[in-house]
Symmetry: C2
Subunit: 397 residues, 2 copies
């Protein structure tokens, strides 16, 4: 039999969120199906905005008519959506060509698939971070260099720490701002330094901007705000948290025309990869995405983001009085909260689940630096968030 990809044996047996889900099911079984409140997995709770649901269902209905039917979608997305995304970048003050935009079925797949363009490489992954970065690189057989962050650097990875790359090949550098799980936002100057380091070391940056729409304080929302980024960075975006698309599946990846690896343009390479290995994103889904980015739908989805940001504030306020240390909670749907009484993330997870019926994500799941933290998601309903905040206060008290 062909040999198993060795990477799999280096993986933790289960994906983080599959594991926490099981712990919750066990709790539920033990407690006669008692419902817990979950601030764990970052799923959204608000339905799609009316204009978005309308566009989605109307396009789906028309798929039943000769005139409205759409077969294979263009591999890289419909022009109408690529244009709307390019306009969205204009709003953020940067120019991205439509030809640089690839419509996807969400960020998670892209973070992993993009690695297929490279031969075995070394990934540079700041931690704590989204576990998919690590798992995808392990499955691909890549080496990983971790760059742990902690309170001393405010959970913002310092480009100075990596210095010159040890190999002339540079790294595949993962950056995420606002960060999952810490909610911290990179300043323009930090981002500039990362771009400089990437250019110096011949590295490529995979910039995960899945949460950019939560930025309200004027911080940079795209890596392309920084000079030189088009020569070294791809940006992966998602409508999951901004427009409630966790169950719709749409996002996009920007691969600049100026991004070269040796003599090879990554934009062209990604075109070749995508036309071979996927068959486009459903037309009704792209119609829904278009509605989320334009006109009435855009305003409505902005309201949803404000709603979740208010939730984050409620969570923060509940623990602030106890002198709790936290990150995020503004510009992000996540609160990265230091456990009280020296508890580890896992201990806090367990106590919160079993004594308070509250689910959080233990910081350990995000790698080094997360040992004494838990991640709270502000994406639940207002009602559940208010209840959760009370339980948190009791836990801290």
């Amino acid at each position: 039999m062909p040999k198993c990809n060795e990477g799999f044996s280096r993986l933790d047996g289960e994906y983080l969120f599959t594991k926490t889900k099981k712990a919750i099911e066990e709790y539920s079984l033990k407690h006669n199906g008692k419902k817990v409140i979950s601030l764990g997995v970052g799923d959204v709770s608000l339905p799609l905005s009316p204009a978005v649901a309308k566009a989605f269902s109307s396009a789906a209905r028309k798929m039943g008519n000769k005139e409205g039917f759409h077969g294979y979608a263009p591999y890289f997305g419909y022009d109408f959506l690529r244009r709307a995304i390019a306009d969205d970048y204009k709003n953020k003050g940067v120019d991205v060509n439509e030809s640089e935009i690839f419509v996807s079925d969400g960020a998670k797949r892209e973070l992993s698939d993009f690695l297929s363009l490279f031969s075995k490489s070394t990934a540079l992954i700041p931690t704590p971070s989204y576990p998919v970065y690590v798992d995808a690189n392990i499955m691909r057989g890549n080496e990983i260099l971790f760059l742990p962050t902690d309170e001393s650097d405010g959970f913002i990875p310092s480009p100075e720490k990596i210095g010159k790359a040890e190999s002339s090949d540079g790294y595949i550098i993962y950056l995420c701002s606002p960060s999952n799980p810490t909610g911290t936002v990179y300043s323009e100057s930090v981002l500039s330094r990362w771009v400089e380091v990437a250019l110096e070391t011949g590295s490529v940056i995979i910039f995960d901007a899945a949460y950019e729409r939560y930025i309200t304080d004027g911080s940079v929302r795209t890596v392309y705000s920084v000079d030189g980024a088009k020569n070294c960075a791809v940006e992966i975006c998602s409508l999951s948290k901004s427009a409630g698309f966790t169950g719709v599946r749409c996002g996009w990846t920007v691969v600049p025309e100026k991004l070269f690896m040796g003599g090879t343009g990554l934009n062209k390479l990604w075109q070749r990869r995508q036309s071979t290995a996927m068959n486009g994103v459903s037309y009704p889904v792209q119609a829904a995405a278009f509605a989320a980015l334009t006109g009435k739908g855009r305003k409505q989805t902005e309201k949803a983001v404000s709603y979740y940001l208010k939730n984050a504030e409620i969570l923060v306020n509940a623990v602030k009085n106890f002198g709790a240390e936290y990150y995020g909670g503004v510009n992000s749907p996540y609160v990265w909260l230091k456990c009280p009484r020296g508890l580890t993330g896992k201990e806090a997870f367990s106590t919160l689940l079993n004594e308070y019926g509250l689910v959080v994500t233990p910081g350990e799941g995000f790698g080094a630096g997360g040992e004494n933290y838990i991640r709270l998601s502000a994406l639940n309903t207002r009602q559940n968030t208010v209840s959760a905040a009370k339980r948190l206060a009791e836990f801290f008290n």
Copy 2:
């Protein structure tokens, strides 16, 4: 900069269908936008069946209500759909557990993604075949052993031809029945021999059953009709051609619990891979798929298949009188047609496009054995098919 995946340099510059599309656009430019009839890319022409479009749009509409909203879908598909697919297998006379079924966004992605479970391997690919098999393996860095078929074996690959695998690792064997592009169907005995050879050589079969619903003569429609297949084969299915889902994106992959690679269960491995590298398929899409497999929707989609089969018959009848040699045209939406007058597939493609305004796919695009053939798709409308048939007759005359 990290090094480019060497596989890409071994790829043909463009994906087959991207290339033919460009030739058509050039023709159209030269001829003042004159419309051609395309029997090229296998896209469907009928809209979604009424019951399917209704289920799709109704689920999409409900995504705008608190009660009907669905966030992240289960990684491997909703239970209701996995159950319907298991029932579908019961109709074909085989038992497949729900836990063996993984809902996907279509066959193309799966044919390529599944390779991630293996370390570098050797793929055994009968030709002519769907170009994705070759490209995906090249991109993965795998070796490829081609097994060309031709008129002498009726375009059915003989398992006898491979004998004992040269390496003890066996092969990743791609089989497709009804075949794309030749439309030929494997008999149960041929399939049995393939399963035997796979077991003997320690190979794994990737069985592409994307066209199984076109089988009307009682031939086997799933690899699991054959004893031992659960120990050596995964099956990749699609609703694209059976239910018009080319622009909806849904299918499934069966990974049997009994399928082991060394000591490693592939079912478990695929679970781990999918939970890390994708985020499920949209709920409205799965609701549409459910409608296509059950009740009224099922009957309606069966009618669409009959419609396309009638198209195939029309195409075949147009060339039969000229003594044309062909395969498929029954049990398949494809007619694999030998070019008249000793023309190559590329020559016939060019003449048909430029003199008859008719697009076909040149056989060369599917690899060795395709040099003197063209593939006709019967998935166009009746009206276009009838016109195309006339043009074909003129070409043969």
